[in-house]
């Protein structure tokens, strides 16, 4: 978790990814130049509140955005392959082979009219061929891997016959069936109860290490990121505003938005005091302010912040931040950041 940049070439490289939705009335700038990289065996959390562009990032990587109404620009390379140029069969092979995706709602990946086994066997045979019997054996193995009890019996269950936690595990098994090099996870534990969420997080952490997959894990919850990420990239209004090793970023955020999000997340605050909040609301993605997108809500804003988007700077090895005043944020103890006492 040192953010070490020199452990081999990245598995995934995203450079200046830009996504615009063009409708009749409005143009929405959902992503405004997103760049990051991910090594094999690493978990990068995309952290941000709703509408910040987390899901759009994942969907752009999978080329799942509606083609007619979306303008995508930038570079995405997976193990050197130009992902945005893939079409037809090559794209199919990419989606069902190199990359797999898990969602918040398992039923978006599972078809209610097929059993768990039918899903898995179909996916396994498409990916690596072989006999039905061999695929079934492997499917049972996968269900055991994701710790579904009585896997040999549950393989014949329909999705609706499983509890929420087991369905989530079945979807993870399906994602692993093609031994992906890259796992895209979109809030996979958000709908789960606390005692089940921690089970699934621990499971994902273990599988990700065993398989050596690179994992891009989307969450709106700082606490989930702290539990699973090696590095985190904080998104705000379609940009990554801060990135770095998870422990370092949460201990000493460099961007005012990260600091404010940390302070406003309910966690052991004194019950007799108001929780610090962020004034206002995120900008209209159809009319982003010319400078820093957070400027209208930022307690540290200066005139210079409103001129152009702040450039990326590197306050420490492996850390990146886009804020003109990050040195002041870093120099301020968290406790005073939380009370807004840092002007």
């Amino acid at each position: 978790m040192d953010g070490g940049q020199d452990r081999g070439p990245p598995l995934l490289e995203v450079a200046d990814l830009t996504v615009r939705f063009v409708g009749h009335e409005a143009r929405v700038q959902a992503l405004a130049g997103v760049s990051f990289s991910l090594r094999a065996g690493e978990v990068l959390c995309l952290l941000g509140e709703s509408g910040s562009g987390k899901s759009v990032t994942l969907r752009a990587l999978m080329q799942l955005l509606p083609p007619g109404r979306t303008e995508v620009a930038g570079q995405v390379r997976l193990a050197g392959q130009d992902v945005l140029a893939l079409r037809g069969r090559a794209l199919q092979a990419f989606r069902g082979g190199s990359v797999a995706m898990v969602f918040q709602e398992p039923m978006s990946a599972l078809d209610p009219v097929y059993t768990i086994g039918q899903h898995l066997i179909e996916a396994i045979r498409q990916h690596r061929g072989g006999s039905r019997a061999a695929a079934r054996a492997r499917a049972i193995g996968l269900l055991e891997l994701v710790k579904i009890p009585a896997a040999a019996r549950r393989i014949d269950a329909y999705p609706h016959e499983l509890s929420g936690g087991l369905r989530q595990r079945a979807m993870i098994a399906l994602a692993l069936s093609c031994t992906p090099r890259l796992l895209l996870a979109d809030e996979p534990t958000t709908a789960l109860d606390a005692t089940v969420q921690i089970q699934v997080l621990i499971l994902l952490r273990r599988l990700q290490q065993e398989f050596g997959m690179g994992t891009l894990f989307v969450t709106h919850d700082l606490a989930v990121a702290a539990e699973i990420a090696d590095r985190v990239a904080v998104m705000y209004a379609g940009r990554i505003v801060e990135e770095g090793p998870v422990a370092a970023v949460l201990r000493a955020p460099a961007h005012p938005y990260t600091a404010a999000l940390l302070a406003s997340t309910v966690h052991d605050q004194a019950p007799d005091q108001d929780i610090p909040t962020i004034p206002g609301s995120p900008p209209d993605l159809g009319a982003l302010p010319p400078g820093c997108s957070f400027a209208p809500r930022c307690a540290l804003v200066r005139d210079a912040c409103r001129i152009g988007p702040p450039p990326a700077t590197h306050p420490a090895p492996g850390r990146m931040v886009r804020c003109l005043r990050s040195a002041d944020v870093l120099a301020t103890p968290l406790a005073s950041l939380a009370t807004g006492d840092y002007r």
Partner: protein, 348 residues
Amino acid sequence: MSATPMSTALADPRDRGGPAQPMLIARGLRRYFRLKGRGQAVRAVDDVSFTVFKGETLGVVGESGCGKSTLARLLLHLLVPQAGEMVFDGDLVGAARGIGIAALRQQVQMVFQDSAASLNPRMPVRDSIAFGPLAAGQSRAAARQTAEALLQQVGLRPDLFGPRYPHELSGGQKQRVNIARALALGPRMVILDEAVSALDKSVEAQVLNLLRDLKRRLNLTYLFISHDLNVVRYISERVLVMYLGQVVELGPATAVFAAPRHPYTRALLASRLSMDADRRTLEPPLQGDPPSPIDAPSGCRFRTRCPCAEAVCASRAPPLGHWEDRASHIAACHMATQGSGHTLAGAG
């Protein structure tokens, strides 16, 4: 943290019982749901008793399906209890000489999780808020004034937000409107059922601050239902923990969080994420999902997942104990009952 001093709030003529009389007492509430085509029933709320004291926030926690929303609906008689009784400020609910359901619903209001579904999409939010007062007999002008005053109170500028339709508001703004609407008839108690659960964290913080502020200013009593233990710890004076339709632990928030007495509460607390990447949870505190409330285990319903279960746990249901005041900390576990036959009885 304590309730608003009575001296600052004007005496409420509806406060019949005085400060010592609990706002609400629920005794032995039960609601089963029959399953179509099967002989079985979902025991959603099964013999639930508790007290809500005046001016407090009682937090209700438990995993999904444990009966929290059913309980909320029973309290408002949106669902009719199959057994049990309720006493509101000293009056038996639904009894000939007690308080009627309509009167109860004026004094107890509810806010739900889904902020959009609770508002009429074809009505400016100002009119949604004015709807209750209008129906209760206020003139059009007076109801409109009430609505605008309420918008102001929940932090939305009436001139700016009053004329808007629900789809023109963010989730947090819609939830503020729902809170305003719940307050329109001047309730004394508000039931908040996962009211902040769908909001972004920074918006959740804003709404929690608002709820605390309103409670102080309007001298309200809250029943605050949530699956989020951090939020419940922050906002509640006392906490009630549910598991499979039953109360397993009840006590002051500080005591329950510092020294949980039921193994389920302990596991729930241990499942909280640390927010510290250097202190990750290595082993899950519990395995599996909660069992279905259709065939709940005999005896203690938690025994199938409990690390401390013994023979007595399968044969007898542990009692919660009935006496309750603001300070009592009780748990329905054989380990918490002297002489129960559990080898660890009285040890914790």
